[in-house]
């Protein structure tokens, strides 16, 4: 068990070190891509806490991502807040929204849970459109370069932005890994594996699941807030159903219930679309075929397959 812990630490710290170093050699285009991927991988990591480790399939995570993005963005736009408190406002918005949604949606399970989360997210999306006076609806609003200087660091600068994204991603990864070492994290896995058994071992299943929703939602919100701040834009599109499906897809592809999976899946999906759209206008067809192949030959996702075949210790 300890041997696995050492390997896991080496692998994950190694990934962060590689990501930190690779920045020096990457062309600007890929540097920008990778910054985006790391922020979105943070979102996927948040999704993975709920889906991969607790076994709850939400179709409404865009609501949490958007809660963070708008919590941050609106504090800057309406209250003229500095970036740091604006980020905190985004986190707080995500925590509150996920707590409320969790209390309501966790009264259901299975397909009903999927539908209830989807409906809440759609209600959130429509609210953003309706409140157009503040949110500028579909069009969204820009956060200017001057508003994105945090503690004297200009986050619109590509290198600064890259490292900020890396810090966010590393934090999400470490929170996930740390969580898995706690009793709480192990209880979440117990719920995923056999909820009734977990209940009859004395676990308060509702509270544990609520905790998972809040951690997952807050991590998603942190990524939404960071995305808005780093790329200088908040728009209703990020609250649409598409952004609820993305993290599910990334996590499934990368490997649900693996700490590495969200990053692997996001990276893979991003470049799959990027590369295939360079080849043909029918790039979604190419992406679709590749997705079908991955699902057929690596049903547990890329990192999940790696764990099954070689690295049993992968957390």
């Amino acid at each position: 068990m300890n041997e696995g812990l050492g390997k896991s630490a080496a692998l994950h710290v190694g990934l962060i070190v590689v990501l930190a170093a690779i920045q020096f050699v990457l062309p600007e285009y890929h540097q920008g891509n990778l910054a985006r991927i790391m922020v979105l991988a943070g979102y996927a990591a948040g999704y993975n806490i709920l889906f991969g480790y607790t076994g709850l399939l939400s179709l409404g995570h865009a609501l949490f991502f958007a809660a963070g993005m708008y919590g941050m963005g609106l504090s800057i736009r309406l209250l003229d807040a500095a970036p740091a408190p604006a980020l905190l406002a985004g986190l707080a918005a995500g925590a509150v929204v996920s707590l409320v949604i969790g209390v309501l949606a966790l009264r259901t399970a299975g397909v009903a849970f999927m539908i209830v989360t989807l409906m809440f997210a759609q209600a959130g999306y429509l609210t953003i459109l309706l409140m157009g006076a503040y949110t500028r609806g579909d069009e969204g609003f820009v956060i200017s370069q001057a508003q994105r200087v945090m503690w004297g660091i200009d986050l619109s600068d590509p290198v600064n932005r890259y490292y900020a994204a890396l810090i966010l991603f590393a934090a999400c990864l470490l929170v996930t890994l740390r969580l898995l070492r706690t009793r709480f994290g192990r209880a979440l896995i117990a719920i995923r594996e056999n909820e009734e058994r977990a209940r009859m071992l004395g676990y308060d299943v509702f509270r544990l699941k609520l905790g998972a929703v809040v951690i997952s939602g807050t991590m998603s919100a942190a990524s939404g807030a960071a995305y808005g701040l780093l790329f200088g834009y908040a728009g209703a599109g990020f609250a649409s159903v598409q952004y609820s499906i993305f993290p599910l897809l990334w996590v499934l592809l990368g490997g649900a219930g693996t700490a590495l999976g969200p990053f692997v899946g996001t990276l893979f999906m991003f470049y799959l679309i990027d590369l295939s759209s360079g080849l043909t206008t029918a790039y979604m067809l190419v992406a679709g075929v590749v997705l079908v192949l991955v699902t057929l030959f690596a049903p547990q996702g890329l990192a999940g397959e790696l764990r099954r075949r070689a690295w049993r210790w992968l957390p």
Binding site: A190, E193, N194, R197, M200, L201, G202
Partner: protein, 235 residues
């Protein structure tokens, strides 16, 4: 003093009354066997004790406290443990992780020792690294029991623990129950009469959801009404 007490405990499923008006007293330190033909309501009865299902009416008292309104996890926190009739382990986790999850209330530092002891007591010590789903059926039953032991409960409810065990494993189980007797009160649903006769202090017979008889094993064996319920012979 009774560790467990029920009064008027009843459960109806639509038109069917699975358990009807059961008054049941289990003194601390006793090994009680609960027997009865298939469909007599044994599992329904113990499920109401530990809060897995809610009674239609009636009360459950545990350790002098009315727990009728408490959800399962709170009753288990008070010292009940329940092992499932249909094996219900965490198949994709290791044996050690399964027992670790059961030893929920132990601080992590103390967990290793408790875990090793529980596995050793049921004879699964050598399998702690195996995935629970890869164990044979009999070994999964033993793992269930180990998960019950790891909780160090005041009341251990075992639902047909010897089902699917080999003769040697059943002998080991009998010895285990005798060894546990000093520390734990045990309520045992059991079909294997040799287990009932050898380990139980008293036996309660359920039939059609009602208590048909209760007494020491020898008296129950001789009871004509019990024989009739099991064998269908006229009483």
């Amino acid at each position: 003093m009774s560790l467990l007490r029920t009064r008027g405990l009843t459960r109806r499923f639509d038109g069917l009354t699975a358990v009807e008006d059961v008054d049941f007293d289990l003194p601390e330190g006793q090994v009680r066997a609960l027997i009865g033909p298939n469909g007599a309501g044994k599992t329904t009865f113990v499920s109401m004790l530990c809060g897995r299902i809610w009674p239609t009416c009636g009360t459950v008292e545990f350790a002098g406290r009315d727990v009728s309104a408490l959800p399962a996890h709170k009753r288990i926190a008070l010292g009940m443990a329940y092992t499932f009739q249909i094996t219900s382990v965490f198949p994709r986790l290791t044996v050690a992780e399964n027992v670790g999850l059961a030893a929920r209330r132990v601080r992590l530092e103390g967990e290793g020792a408790r875990l090793a002891q529980a596995l050793k007591r049921v004879g699964l010590g050598a399998h702690h690294k195996a995935l629970a789903g890869d164990l044979s059926y009999g070994h999964q039953r033993l793992l269930e029991i180990a998960m019950g032991l790891a909780q160090e409960p005041r009341l251990l409810i075992l639902d047909e623990p010897t089902q699917g065990l080999t003769d040697a494993e059943i002998d080991a189980f009998k010895a285990l129950v005798r060894a546990l007797k000093a520390a734990t009160t045990i309520l045992l649903i059991e079909h294997n009469m040799s287990v009932v006769m050898e380990v139980a202090d008293r036996v309660t017979v359920l039939d059609f959801g009602k208590v048909l008889a209760e007494g020491p094993p020898a008296a129950i064996r001789a009871d004509r009404a019990v024989q009739a319920a099991y064998l269908g012979a006229p009483a």
